[in-house]
């Protein structure tokens, strides 16, 4: 009797076991988090972090933990004590390796740096988001990097340049970042031979850039505080020009009163400005700013062709500037937003197309202006040496702008299907490719020429005919306001 009871229980348990086990035997093992079986520690506590890390170190603390890569054994041993001394030593392993604590035990995504470091804005402030470069490629040792053939992403390499497997378990950060890890002659990751400075305040007029002249930087040998040496001198001369012009203007009378000192004049002007800004006349001011200063209504009244020509230059400029401002604001305040990720990506189709299209319109407007000047005898234009200089500078900026973009598309190995959205730059790149030139080496020189031309243009602006770009709309607005007052 007792034996029958035991037999019945054993058989029943065997059947139950069979019923439970059969599905799992018939399928692949399910993806499960480690914590589905292991007790999930509280990672917000030191004890929880230590407990979680101990689970990892149970295997990764052993010397014989490795993986196979290119037929070689790549060590995966982590020294817990050494890790604890690093910058991230207070964090659980899974804090950064947040896709690895699964079954199967394999990392499926890059390190989750962005979960803590909302520093996209800082990267943009330093000139470039390096969107196709993984954080670890710059910030972690060892320094070998490789460009993934499929995704085009630059990342840390598992092997060195001799093909020998690398130990990537030190968790030591590279401080300061060494740009020459990628930026050297003959690199294979699609970087220019020379590292370029970040796009600065001047570039802000047409690109997403940093509107700061002096800022902290984590990059390069000069890491620390950096000065925008492209923008600063140009803006210094530009401001000097404004001071010279203002000192001339302030010799005039205010409210018909002669003999006033400069501070008295400024006081009157400031009073008038406040009277406008803090009254309903502000809307009148905005009306004239938009209609006469931006939409060029007065020009339209006299000549549609002249209006179109000016509009093709002014409005795309404004468009590029506003797009740059929008990008900077988005990166500063909402760095993780999908729109921001698109805006900062100069290869993203809408961004690439918009920037190129606006630049294309400016070129059309400039050509139109030159043709009017050359062909229309009624215009009686006068051209001084200064006019030629400033026009040549502007032409050079655009010519080199397109060449720089074409060279960038070549150097950074942007696939044709993506590069075509930068249609003007892509067309230039197709031509440039035919030339027997080492573009990664030349790219930085082209960039510098473009930047130098912009700097020269801005510095010369207050002393040239093109000063009307600033004074004209302002005067048209004020004139409209005064006429309305009368």
């Amino acid at each position: 009797m007792r034996i029958r009871l035991i037999s019945t229980c054993v058989v029943s348990f065997a059947i139950l076991l069979l019923l439970v086990a059969t599905p799992s035997l018939a399928q692949e093992p399910e993806e499960q988090e480690c914590w589905a079986c292991h007790r999930q520690p509280n990672l917000d506590t030191v004890a929880g972090v230590e407990a979680a890390n101990q689970l990892c170190l149970d295997c990764h603390g052993e010397a014989d933990t490795f993986k196979e890569l290119a037929g070689q054994k790549v060590p995966l041993q982590v020294d817990g004590a050494t890790y604890g001394e690093t910058r991230h030593g207070h964090l659980a392993c899974t804090h950064c390796h947040n896709t690895v604590a699964h079954s199967p035990h394999q990392e499926t995504a890059p390190l989750a740096c962005g979960d803590c470091h909302d520093n996209l804005a800082q990267h943009i402030a330093n000139g470039d988001a390096h969107l196709t470069v993984e954080c670890s490629a710059c910030h972690f040792e060892p320094e070998a990097v490789v460009r993934d053939a499929e995704s085009g992403v630059v990342q840390q390499s598992g092997v060195d340049d001799q093909g020998m497997a690398l130990d990537r378990t030190s968790h030591q950060m590279t401080e300061p970042v060494d740009c020459q890890r990628c930026h050297y002659e003959g690199n294979e990751v699609g970087a220019s031979s020379a590292a370029l400075p970040p796009k600065g305040l001047l570039c802000f007029a047409c690109h997403d850039a940093s509107p700061v002249l002096y800022a902290g930087s984590a990059f390069g040998a000069g890491a620390g505080m950096r000065t925008d040496w492209v923008s600063a001198p140009a803006l210094l001369v530009f401001c000097l020009g404004l001071v010279v012009a203002s000192s001339f203007w302030l010799k005039g009378t205010v409210h018909g009163k002669a003999g006033l000192s400069v501070d008295e004049k400024l006081s009157y002007i400031a009073g008038d400005a406040c009277g406008i800004f803090f009254s309903r006349r502000l809307f009148t001011l905005l009306k004239y700013l938009v209609l006469d200063g931006i939409l060029l209504r007065r020009t339209l009244r006299e000549s549609v062709s002249r209006w179109m020509m000016h509009g093709l230059i002014l409005w795309p400029f404004l468009g590029r500037f506003l797009l740059g401002v929008l990008t900077w604001c988005a990166a500063s305040f909402w760095p993780a937003a999908p729109l921001t990720q698109t805006l900062v990506n100069k290869n993203a189709p809408p961004v690439a197309f918009t920037y190129d299209f606006l630049a294309f319109l400016i070129v059309i407007g400039a050509i139109w202006a030159l043709m009017r000047r050359a062909l229309d005898s009624q215009m009686r234009e006068i051209t001084s040496v200064g006019d030629v200089v400033i026009t040549a500078l502007l032409g050079g900026i655009f010519a080199f702008g397109f060449v720089v973009e074409g060279a960038r598309l070549i150097v950074t190995q942007v696939p044709g299907a993506q590069a075509i959205y930068s249609f003007a730059g892509y067309a230039v790149s197709l031509v440039l490719r035919q030339l027997p030139i080492d573009w990664p080496s030349l790219y930085s020189y082209l960039w510098w020429v473009h930047a130098a031309l912009v700097a020269a243009f801005v510095a010369y602006l207050p002393f040239s005919k093109f000063f009307h770009i600033l004074v004209g709309p302002a005067l048209a607005t004020v004139s409209g306001l005064l006429r309305e007052k009368e």
Binding site: R380, A474, V478
Partner: protein, 401 residues
């Protein structure tokens, strides 16, 4: 005066010129002169050069520069060969108020002694005889002697609601006597309480102001204001757009306070009278076109009042000229140009007359005695059978009864 009175805005305007040349295309005088000397753009650059030599950074560091006499003479010629019609200001893409710059440039030329010498005579005449013709100012009402019945207002009243400011040209130049004659007839018909100032009407000062001699006008201004105030008038009606512009814009600045009475142009008064039904007009079956006086249109912004008056006349056919309103070509008679370049005046007037002829209108109506005088002269010289009328003459001709 001159450069020293240029405002901050005016100095900014000198820097804002894009040298686009649109002002040259629209300049009333440039086609007749054909040389860069007359181009507004060149005048502005000349004024900018003078201002830079006085206020520019180089002048402040190394002392003021002084242009040569030849350069000043060249600039003077360019600045006085201008009718001040302000078409250049109207079309300027950045809205530079060129007319006030030209007046400031003339003031500067007067200060430097580089101006046409006939202007010395003008200043002497206006400040001693109180009119531009040099006639005895006691004869200011000589135009009224041909009237069948002289209204009380013409003889002069101690007090009246309206002061009719006749102006120098129709007071002393027979070609335009018909304008005040028509004006007082219409006002009498409308039963308005008006008066003239008679011999106490002095030149408004406009010819001196635009000659760059505005500092000589204070006595004239103060006298005229005092005479109008003494008559306790609530409204001043100017028959001349230049007088109207001067009363409206210059007088309050000269005396440093509001005038205390309304200033209107005759065309505005007529528009009001017709709208109020104070005047009954009969048929006037003619086709007419209208010439905008520069000081009434562009310089004072009155475009619709005279047109409304014309459209109020029964049976009339109104045709606009190709260049009208804001874009109206000058008659050539403005800016005191007649004192130093009569040929230029006649050439511009001929062009305006041709534009009027192109409409096929039988009569050319204006609202300014100087425009009427200039265009009448051109019509006579060109033997064009086109009647030239002032707006008030048109209304008087259409009055019923």
């Amino acid at each position: 005066m001159g450069l020293d009175t240029l405002s901050v805005k005016q100095l900014i305007e000198l820097d804002a010129c894009t040298r686009c040349g649109l002002c040259i295309e629209w300049c009333s005088n440039c086609p007749e002169i054909g040389e860069p000397i007359a181009w507004p753009r060149e005048k502005l650059q000349g004024l900018k050069s003078l201002a830079r030599k006085r206020f520019g950074i180089r002048a402040r560091l190394f002392g003021r520069g002084s242009p040569t006499d030849e350069a000043l003479e060249y600039f003077s010629t360019s600045i006085y060969d201008c009718t001040l019609c302000a078409r250049c200001a109207e079309v300027c893409p950045v809205g530079i108020d060129t007319r006030s710059l030209w007046v400031a440039a003339r003031e500067e030329m007067v200060e430097r002694g580089h101006y046409p010498k006939p202007f010395d005579t003008l200043r002497e005449t206006v400040t001693t005889q109180y009119n531009i013709s040099g006639d005895n100012n006691e004869e200011r009402l000589i135009w009224s002697e041909n009237l069948e019945a002289i209204p009380d207002g013409v003889k002069g009243k101690e007090e009246a609601e309206i002061v009719y400011f006749v102006g120098c040209t129709p007071s002393f130049y027979p070609q335009t006597y018909g304008i005040p004659q028509a004006a007082v007839t219409v006002m009498e018909k409308a039963e308005l309480d008006f008066t003239t100032l008679g011999a106490e009407e002095w030149c408004c000062g406009y010819p001196l102001i635009i000659a760059g001699m505005g500092d000589a006008t204070r006595e004239l201004v103060e006298h005229n204001v005092e005479e109008v105030r003494r008559r306790r008038a609530t409204k001043l009606v100017a028959g001349c757009p230049s007088c109207y512009h001067t009363w409206l814009h210059e007088y309050p600045m000269v005396i440093g306070e509001p005038l205390g009475f309304e200033v209107v142009h005759m065309s505005q008064l007529l528009e009001q009278l017709l709208a109020d039904g104070c005047l009954k007009l009969g048929e006037f079956p003619r086709s007419v076109t209208y010439h905008d006086p520069c000081d009434l249109g562009r310089n004072s912004g009155v475009y619709e009042a005279p047109r409304n008056v014309i459209r109020s006349v029964p049976g009339i056919s109104f045709i606009e000229m190709k260049e009208s309103g804001r874009y109206a070509l000058c008659c050539g008679g403005g800016g005191d140009v007649a004192m130093c370049n009569q040929e230029l005046v006649e050439a511009v007037a001929r062009r305006r007359l041709q534009q009027a002829q192109a409409t096929g209108a039988q009569a050319l109506v204006s609202a300014c005695q100087q425009c009427k005088r200039t265009l009448m002269t051109a019509a006579r010289q060109e033997k064009v059978r086109m009647r030239v009328l002032d707006i008030v003459e048109l209304v008087a001709a259409a009055l019923e009864g």
